[in-house]
């Protein structure tokens, strides 16, 4: 029988019990999140826009509520059971996450291509161009069959055709595709592994008139067996093995390297792989000390060969291999620099320029467009 509350009664005792229990049950979930991770919740201050604050707060709640990981996995499992194979543009393959780069931003791609062609035409320093296909173009066996993918191979070929006679193009697609069963890309991140970097290097070195060093000349060091990359962070699909991070050390000729980062102030490491960074953050930061946008690698080689690489982070895994051929390599990430800063770069010290972007960056980002500001009017000092 229903018990109805008369107006004016102060406390309704056990009539309220079911509602109270429900409120306590629901509230305890929120309180649990606040108590266990309270220190990390954003603190409201006058600089916050209320909607931004609440959005950050909600994000933190999602990370902190009890069984957040299990609930997140449950949602993924339920969606997979419901047929889903792609989440937030990430395909779930057989123990690998494959990022779908989607279709091009047509206008941006046209501007990037135009800038590239114009630069190659006018540069007084020999230009080499490499467009790196992303994981979804190479690991096609891990992508659902009917999934509509942008044809990166065709795009690379079409772009290279426009550069005929203006630049030397480096087509790494066939080399990567021939090894599609190998771990060329990390499972949980869009980056090339050291093996992927080596595969690209084999092709690139030849196009740059070097003889690639055989793989046996490199010692392999495993620095992490529990690496989860940025794709995993974006979509925490739990049923996936962590990545192994390996480093390739060139073991011959007692080669010494100095890696100098320029972030307005300069600092250097006396190694290609500063392992102390393992303690500080992302395992991949060990590679050259992380991508700070302007990195110069000097070696004790006496051949005076120099190379300027302008591109994005996709070329980083290849640089340690290239370093064994050059006395100096400078890497500039145009994603991290504006027009003015790029104009200041002194290209005269370099004999060749390698433009190296991932297809993803080339299709969607305006960074490649900024190579137009690179000043190569002074010829290279031979």
């Amino acid at each position: 029988m229903k018990r109805i509350l008369p107006e004016g009664k102060f406390f309704q005792g056990k009539n309220l019990f079911p509602g109270m229990v429900l409120a306590v049950l629901l509230g305890s979930v929120g309180i649990w999140a606040l108590i266990t991770d309270g220190g990390n919740f954003p603190k409201f201050n006058r600089y916050y826009h209320l909607s931004d604050y609440l959005s950050e707060f909600e994000h933190k709640m999602a990370e902190s509520i009890p069984f957040a990981d299990e609930l997140s996995s449950l949602a993924v499992e339920l969606k997979i059971k419901g047929g889903a194979r792609e989440f937030d543009h990430i395909f779930i393959g057989d123990d690998i996450l494959v990022e779908d780069i989607g279709y091009p931003d047509e206008e941006q791609t046209a501007r990037n291509t135009q800038a590239l062609v114009h630069f190659a035409e006018n540069s007084r320093i020999p230009v080499y161009v490499q467009l790196l296909p992303t994981k979804c173009a190479i690991k096609q066996n891990e992508v659902p069959q009917a999934a509509p993918l942008f044809n990166q191979k065709q795009f690379i070929e079409q772009t290279y055709n426009q550069l005929l006679g203006k630049a030397t193009v480096v087509d790494v697609y066939p080399a990567l595709f021939s090894k599609l069963d190998q771990d060329l890309y990390y499972r949980t991140s869009p980056d090339l592994t050291a093996l992927g970097g080596y595969t690209v290097y084999e092709v690139l070195a030849q196009r740059l008139d070097n003889t690639p060093k055989p793989q046996e000349d490199f010692d392999i060091q495993y620095i992490s067996h529990s690496y989860y990359g940025e794709t995993y962070q974006r979509w925490p699909y739990r049923d996936i093995m962590p990545d192994i991070v390996a480093l390739y050390h060139y073991q011959k000729n007692n080669r010494m390297y100095t890696v100098t980062h320029n972030e307005g102030y300069q600092y250097s490491y006396q190694t290609l792989y500063p392992e102390q960074l393992l303690e500080l953050g992302d395992d991949l930061d060990v590679l050259l000390g992380g991508n700070t946008g302007d990195i110069t690698i000097r070696s004790n080689l006496r051949n005076e060969n120099t190379l300027l690489i302008v591109g994005d982070e996709s070329i980083l895994p290849t640089i340690p291999f290239l370093a064994s051929h050059y006395s100096q390599i400078r890497f500039i990430d145009t994603k991290q620099f504006g027009k003015g800063e790029i104009k200041q770069i002194d290209c005269a010290n370099y004999q060749r320029i390698l433009i190296a972007y991932s297809v993803d960056t080339f299709l969607h980002d305006d960074a490649p467009e900024r190579i137009a500001f690179l000043d190569t009017s002074k010829p290279a000092e031979e």
Binding site: P6, F17, G27, L71, L78, G83
Partner: protein, 442 residues
């Protein structure tokens, strides 16, 4: 902080419930009003002055009208000023949304229509004005119903506040609505919206007949589950605070006639328009022509509830055609047909209406219709649409399943066959659905 966020469900709602339960009966509405305003602040701070000014204005108009019972002219002027203010506010907000892409203030349609109905009732003497601004604000702006209603009557709520039912049965009923609404929002509506946007992302050269059909169906379900999700949550939350809101959707996709569809779709808005416009205009008692005009006006207003756009008006006109056809011609045949045939007929009519509803212009609607019948030389299907459908098949099946009363009938069947297990089964099912819904919010 919408109704389907973790912050709302695990902090805001329990805090409101706990404070509401422990405070004395006479302050309960005050607590709910404060929480409703707080909810508004957290979701649309910039529009709070508009809400407060508009509601305060209507409140003062009602107060003045009550005090001016002998001055009919003054009463009439006050009444029309308030009516025009409310209609103008809705039109201005919708026009700004369409022309300037400015978002409509949170709950504007709900609180304005609720208040408008109250002003009309007070003017006509159908509602008593009791002078409590707290109760009035709660009635118009209760946080649970700001998103999609339902539209409620002041006298209904007043009676509930006086005899507040917070029994275990009421809380159980509330949990059922609340979980059902949450699941509709987080699983079905979000899933349908994701299918809809995947189809909209298909480049124009790759559209197919199947992709246009799938777009219309997913758009229909996205709208339906968003509205029913909010309304069910509103009903559930209302139960937690000892109130009962009316049903706003009653399986409209299994209506047997188009007129029946209108009686099951957005019920509280239909009732509002019937009560304050249709009956006021004389309903269908003045002959054929006035009936046609009145029906046209009603269905167009039903369309305009969703926005100030030509397509919504035409959506209303489209329904008028079928409602009148049924009234004067088809009904005698429909009544003789098996229910399943009637339902299929209505479902097709309603589904096609959403080609008008989903199109951003009549030109686009025409394109959809031609494409659906293969008149645009589009291929029947391709890899892309097959991929979208195959990777979302469960959402699409669930959309169809829950659009009917099959889930209710299944529950009833279990209760009849296994009466002792029914409660346990029901509790386990709701708990499972709740956990799944929360997982989809993360």
């Amino acid at each position: 902080m919408g109704l389907s966020t973790l912050t709302f469900n695990f902090l805001f709602l329990p805090a409101a419930m706990l404070i509401f339960y422990v405070c004395p009966q006479k302050y309960k509405n005050g607590v709910l009003t404060v929480f409703s305003l707080l909810f508004y602040v957290m979701n649309d701070l910039r529009s709070l002055p508009l809400l407060l000014c508009s509601m305060l204005f209507d409140y003062l108009v009602c107060a003045k009208m009550v005090r001016s019972t002998s001055q009919m002219k003054r009463r009439r002027i006050l009444f029309w000023v308030s009516v025009l203010k409310n209609i103008g506010l809705m039109i201005a907000a919708m026009a700004m949304f369409e022309l300037d892409k400015r978002s409509i203030p949170l709950g504007l349609m709900v609180y304005t229509v609720t208040s408008l109905g109250y002003v009309i009732d007070v003017y006509n003497g159908d509602e008593r004005f009791d002078g409590s601004i707290v109760d009035y604000l709660l009635f118009t702006s209760f946080f649970g119903k700001l998103y999609a209603g339902p539209i409620v009557q002041y006298s209904d709520l007043k009676a509930q506040w006086e005899q507040r039912d917070l029994s275990a049965e009421k809380i159980k009923q509330g949990i059922r609505f609340y979980v059902s609404g949450l699941a509709r929002l987080t699983i079905l509506a979000a899933g349908s919206i994701s299918v809809q946007s995947a189809i909209r992302d298909i480049p124009s050269g790759e559209e197919t007949v199947l992709s246009v059909w799938a777009l219309i169906i997913s758009s229909t379900f996205a709208l339906y589950y968003t509205l029913t999700g909010y309304c069910d949550m509103a009903r559930g939350i209302a139960c937690f605070f000892g109130m009962e809101f009316p049903e706003n959707f009653h399986h409209p996709f299994q209506s047997r006639t188009v007129s029946d569809f209108f009686n099951r779709f957005n019920i509280s808005v239909t009732k509002f328009i019937n009560r304050y416009v249709y009956i006021f205009l004389g309903a269908d008692t003045n002959g054929v022509l006035p009936t046609i005009v009145n029906t046209l006006l009603i269905t167009m207003l039903m369309g305009l509830w969703f926005g100030l756009r030509l397509n919504y008006l035409v959506w209303g006109v489209y329904f008028t055609v079928f409602i009148l056809l049924e009234k004067y011609f088809l009904m005698k045949y429909l009544e003789k047909l098996p229910p399943l045939v009637d339902r299929i007929y209505t479902f097709i009519i309603v589904m096609f209406s959403f080609t008008i509803f989903s199109g951003s212009s009549l030109h686009q609607t025409g394109y959809y219709l031609r494409s659906m019948f293969g008149l645009n030389s589009l291929p029947l299907f391709n890899n892309r649409i097959s991929y979208i459908i195959s990777t979302n098949y469960m959402v699409i099946l669930l959309d169809f399943f829950f659009a009917t009363s099959l889930a209710v009938l299944t529950g009833r069947l279990i209760r009849e066959k296994f009466p002792k297990l029914a409660d346990t089964f029901s509790a386990a099912a709701y708990l499972g659905v709740f956990i799944a819904s929360v997982s989809f919010m993360i």
